[in-house]
């Protein structure tokens, strides 16, 4: 297997489950498909002002994700990312399943022999942003509560990302850096993201990749209806470790985790906790 193809498998696999970006593209008429399961449980919420609240109910989110890439041309790929099902709920609340936003994009590598690419994605909402869950028991004051646990934010987003990558001649070590913007609609704040990753092959078929990224507000939103519960004003610093084991030339499995830290970008308007994920992929 060529160096580039080798790395591409790993980075695509990593991309879909851990938000990284890279400068490589898939060759024409080749494809990649990945399924992954992710789980997240925490009661730590950081407000828009960055204050920690950890006395509320524990929030749970479990999801099954499908991701695919197809090479239209050697330097142009189409990418599809679908959270097929996501189940969000709080302790002692009914489950509230839903489908996440569908992300459809194109990735173009500028130069044939240099991994520098632009990716443009449209994130398509799958509902109106409302997905209520009801408590199973009344609270300490005797009230049954409901809470909106949306799996879609109900609005279109448009992502633009530039990524550049490099790999050693052996392909055992590779790195990428990227920056991009998320252009939101309906008056939500636009966001900027930047990140990097470093991958290393430890043994013949075992790879480990470390990633780090930050998100900040790029342009503040203007709509009074932009709810904090749809990611309005969310900022964070996030790291990720992913292990990939290639079973053969076509199939791979992966497992990893991701978590938030407070620097350099503060945790604002997010639930803070570890996400664990496992997945499998196939490519031809």
């Amino acid at each position: 297997m060529s160096l580039i193809r080798n790395i591409l498998i790993l980075l695509v696999f990593v991309s879909s489950t851990s938000w990284a970006q890279n400068g490589w593209t898939r060759k024409a008429k080749s494809f990649y498909i990945q399924g992954a399961f992710a789980t997240f449980n925490t009661n730590k919420y950081y407000s828009v002002d960055g204050d920690l609240f950890d006395n509320g109910s524990t929030f749970h989110s479990h999801a099954f994700l499908l991701y695919g890439e197809y090479g239209i041309f050697d330097q142009l790929n189409v990418i599809l990312d679908v959270p097929v099902i996501a189940i969000n709920y709080f302790d002692n609340y009914e489950l509230a399943p839903g489908v996440g936003n569908v992300k459809l994009g194109l990735k173009y590598k500028f130069f044939k022999n240099f991994p520098f690419a632009l990716q443009v994605d449209a994130e398509i909402p799958t509902d109106d942003g409302f997905n209520y869950s009801t408590s199973k028991e009344p609270d300490i004051f005797g009230n049954y509560n409901t809470i909106n646990v949306p799996t879609s934010d109900g609005e279109f987003n448009f992502h633009t990302t530039l990524a550049v990558s490099h790999a050693t001649k052996s392909g055992n070590t590779f790195a990428s850096a990227y920056c991009g913007a998320n252009w939101r609609t309906k008056g939500f704040s636009h966001q900027i993201v930047a990140g990097m990753e470093l991958g290393q092959r430890l043994f013949n078929r075992w790879y480990i990749i470390g990633k780090f990224r930050i998100q900040e507000v790029l342009i503040e939103g203007s709509s009074p209806n932009a709810s904090i519960f749809w990611g309005e004003g969310t900022t964070f610093s996030q790291y990720n470790f992913t292990n990939i084991v290639k079973l053969n030339d076509h199939w791979s499995v992966l497992a990893g985790m991701t978590d938030f830290i407070g620097i350099p970008s503060e945790r604002r308007n997010l639930y803070d906790g570890i996400t664990a994920f496992v997945g499998v992929s196939v490519e031809y």
């Binding site: 851990s18 002002d49 929030f59 989110s61 809470i147 709810s227 904090i228 519960f229 004003g233």
Partner: protein
């Protein structure tokens, strides 16, 4: 979990981490209305918390039958996309629950499901030790705003 994140990545990436929010039924507006003139004894203005757009006036007073009410003004607004929001009398601006001792610093008034003017009838007069009104997301345990009554 966002944004926007898988929820951020997974959601968050967008997915998982689209934050939940607090019900749009059983409005507090079902509460009885004051009879005759409403005499205000204490009043205040909401200070927004948690990045919410909470604002507006709140009054504590009684009607001509000496029945006490909390009155949220026509300018009352908050983030209604979240779900059930609890309204509480409190001995301070900080929500301090102590269920083991009967929550001495809190008095539940009901749930808020809409913006604008509304009355909440009280069973009896409230001690002056309860100095604030707090708007609170019961599920997530996050303050939406508070108003000092003076």
């Amino acid at each position: 979990m966002k944004r926007k994140s898988l929820i951020c990545s997974i959601a968050v990436a967008g997915l998982l981490f689209i934050l939940p929010a607090c019900k749009k039924d059983d409005p507090i507006n079902d509460s009885p209305q004051p009879k005759g003139d409403f005499t205000v004894e204490r009043s205040g203005t909401f200070t927004a918390e948690g990045g919410t757009p909470t604002a507006g006036t709140v009054e504590y007073g009684k009607d001509e039958d000496d029945v006490y009410f909390i009155h949220l003004g026509s300018d009352f607004t908050t983030d209604q996309a979240t779900g059930t929001l609890g309204l509480y009398f409190s001995t301070s601006s900080v929500f301090t629950s102590d269920p083991g001792n009967g929550n001495p610093d809190l008095m539940a008034l009901g749930t808020i499901t809409s913006n604008g003017e509304q009355y909440i009838m009280l069973d009896e007069a409230v001690s002056s030790s309860f100095t604030h009104i707090i708007l609170w997301c019961n599920t997530a345990g996050v303050p939406f705003g508070n108003a000092a009554l003076q």
